[in-house]
């Protein structure tokens, strides 16, 4: 794939300079533009313009009849509000616990599945991926029910061990952790499937060589499998970090950010600011801060996981 792409890119400027004017080039290729047109219109209208608009809005105070320039007021407001720091802290805690847990458990589960026969492989792959195809709304509804104080499954299970029922979602000390436990116990299906695919492409000769050198199974796993899976690990860490910075559905379906601000997250805060309080400028500033937080985290992870060999 790659060489073709480079050849094509390299050929481009030469063609332009040598042969024809830009206008003739455009005219000659009108059909290519026609092919692009539908997607391009949608892209411009519903992605490009809104992205630019979001930046503009974040510097404005939104009013129904004409917005006013507010400079950095919205951003100042973001960094001065305690609600923002609460949401940031909860989102960080959520991410810092669930991402490593999910990625590592996906690695372990994939490692357990990989040596199995074809039939068992696809059975277990299905069992772990199936819960991920159902909507988070449904998952959140059933977990809310399982966390129910009086009749929920979990308090019943606690009862087996003689423990008192816990008001999982209803008290500040446990609400966020209940959501974290839930996220950890939902299998990271994408991770398992990608790890399995990557493990399948590791050459057997490496393991054979290691066997000759007297390595045991665990050593092979630690010194061959894990290092070779690094690109997949990087991708999965990025993917799940981005995902958990955007955690929203569980919050609105299960706790609404409460009790107090104990489960408030960044996206839920943006949603509330924008669509409950209708402070559009403020909400835009919050969302752009979120964007930069995600961007910075992605860059850090990319660096760390790429170069720390």
């Amino acid at each position: 794939m790659k060489p073709v792409q480079h050849a094509a890119n390299a050929a481009n400027p030469v063609d332009f300079a040598k042969k024809t004017s830009l206008f003739t080039q455009i005219k000659k290729n009108y059909s290519a533009y026609l092919f692009l047109l539908p997607k391009l219109i949608l892209f411009v209208a519903f992605i490009a313009i809104p992205v630019v608009w979001a930046f503009v809005l974040s510097f404005q105070e939104y009013k129904i009849f004409g917005s006013e320039w507010a400079g950095f007021d919205n951003y100042v407001k973001v960094f001065q509000s305690s609600a923002f720091y609460d949401a940031l802290k909860n989102t960080f805690v959520f991410t810092l616990v669930t991402v490593p847990f999910n990625v590592i458990s996906a690695l372990i589960i994939a490692s357990l599945i990989h040596p199995l026969g074809k039939w068992s492989q696809s059975f277990f792959r299905g069992a772990f991926y199936l819960p991920t195809v159902t909507s988070m709304v449904i998952v959140a509804m059933v977990w809310r029910w399982m966390y129910n104080y009086d009749f929920g499954l979990f308090n019943y299970v606690l009862g087996w061990f003689g423990m008192d029922p816990v008001n999982w979602l209803g008290q500040t000390s446990t609400a966020l952790w209940s959501l974290i436990i839930m996220q950890c116990l939902i299998p990271f299906g994408v991770g398992i499937i990608l790890y399995l695919a990557a493990m399948g492409s590791i050459s057997n000769s490496l393991y054979e060589a290691a066997t000759i050198d007297g390595a045991n199974g665990f050593q092979k796993w630690l010194h061959i499998t894990i290092p070779l899976l690094k690109p997949t690990t990087l991708y999965l860490v990025l993917l799940s970090t981005i995902g958990s910075f955007q955690v929203f559905t569980q919050i609105i379906m299960m706790t609404g950010g409460g009790p107090g601000t104990s489960t408030e997250t960044l996206v839920h805060l943006i949603y509330k600011t924008g669509f409950r309080d209708f402070e559009f400028g403020y909400a835009s500033a919050q969302s752009i801060v979120l964007f930069f937080i995600i961007l910075i985290f992605s860059i850090i992870q990319f660096r760390v996981l790429r170069y720390d060999d």
Binding site: I26, F46, A48, S111, S135, G159, F280
Partner: protein, 318 residues
């Protein structure tokens, strides 16, 4: 892998899969639970769903078979009246077990939400497949001024989280006058760009010779695309189609912002409204959840291969 005993591996995996599948099981088990029984000590009817300890499976199942056995025995003994009684009870058990579903369809309009979800997901999927493969094709196979610029603009926005455009998109939809209509869902969904990226990657693998041959045979651009490129891109289309369908079917944040009219709700929005109404029992909520999850489960079971393929296509690059 550590040299673990096969049985230990299987045991671990089975325990993990039970944990993984338990919530889904609980959805279906609760949705089919009998609603209540007459408690003799308390002398009132007690809910099976809200009971402690929780009932681990739908209580209707053993009761149904108990009465089925009794009805058969009564028939053998020639006691028609008793047999008819047991048949009647069996019928009641079935009606009661499925009462959550019947209520949702008769009183809560879930059929409407279901159709809305289906048709929006189908329209968006078809549109995405067509537009994204058209765009991906020319971006991979044609030379024209602005090609790289367009591509990098499109790919660049993939980095930006969707929440950034929430507010401006809301204003855009308002200005276009499509607030509280399905167009407010369809247009933004159709503009998702991941498919362009995916299809472009895929189109690179189509040999240029084939396209040249078609051109020499006098096929126009559209004919080449429709009859040669699309059939060759079928595996990519299958993967993209499934993921688009799944994303649209499960999409939640945007629909709850733009939809107000209960008749226009999609399933996730409808489910939220049921939960918010606070009147619904957990049996009813879980029945709704079951209805909303069944289509994706069917799609997954039928197309498992494509799911795996789609994930690996989109995921392991380099």
């Amino acid at each position: 892998m550590p040299k673990l005993n096969k049985t230990i591996i299987y045991a671990l995996l089975i325990v993990f899969s039970i944990v993984s599948l338990l919530p889904l099981y609980w959805v279906f088990s609760t949705s089919l639970q009998l609603s209540s029984y007459q408690d003799e000590d308390l002398e009132r009817s007690v809910s099976y769903v809200d009971s402690n300890p929780p009932k681990m499976y739908p209580m209707g199942i053993p009761e149904y078979f108990e009465h089925w056995g009794k009805a058969r025995d009564a028939e053998k003994a020639g006691d028609d009246k008793d047999a008819a009684y047991h048949r009647e009870v069996m019928h009641e058990i079935v009606t009661d077990s499925f009462s959550g579903f019947t209520t949702l369809f008769t009183k809560n309009n879930i059929g409407r939400w279901f159709l809305n979800s289906i048709y929006i997901a189908v329209i968006v999927t078809v549109g995405i497949l067509l537009f994204d493969s058209m765009a991906g094709y020319v971006l991979a196979k044609k030379q024209f001024p602005g090609r790289n610029l367009i591509f990098y603009c499109i790919v660049g926005t993939m980095m930006i989280p969707g929440q950034v455009t929430l507010v401006p998109m809301f204003m855009m939809v308002k200005n276009l006058g499509i607030m509280d209509t399905h167009w407010a869902l369809i247009f933004p969904d159709l503009s998702m760009v991941f498919g362009v990226f995916l299809m472009r990657q895929f189109m690179y693998s189509i040999p240029d010779e084939l396209l040249d041959a078609a051109r020499i045979d006098g096929a126009g651009e559209w004919k080449t695309f429709w009859q040669i490129v699309l059939p060759l891109a079928r595996p990519g289309l299958a993967a993209l189609g499934i993921f688009t369908f799944m994303n649209v079917w499960n999409s939640f944040l945007w629909p709850i912002i733009v939809l107000n009219d209960a008749d226009l709700y999609t399933l996730p929005v409808g489910l939220k409204s049921l939960q918010d109404a606070n009147l619904a029992s957990f049996k009813l909520l879980m029945s709704g959840a079951a209805i909303a999850s069944v289509p994706m489960i069917i799609v997954f079971v039928l197309f498992q291969r494509h799911f795996v393929k789609g994930l690996t296509l989109g995921g392991v690059k380099e």
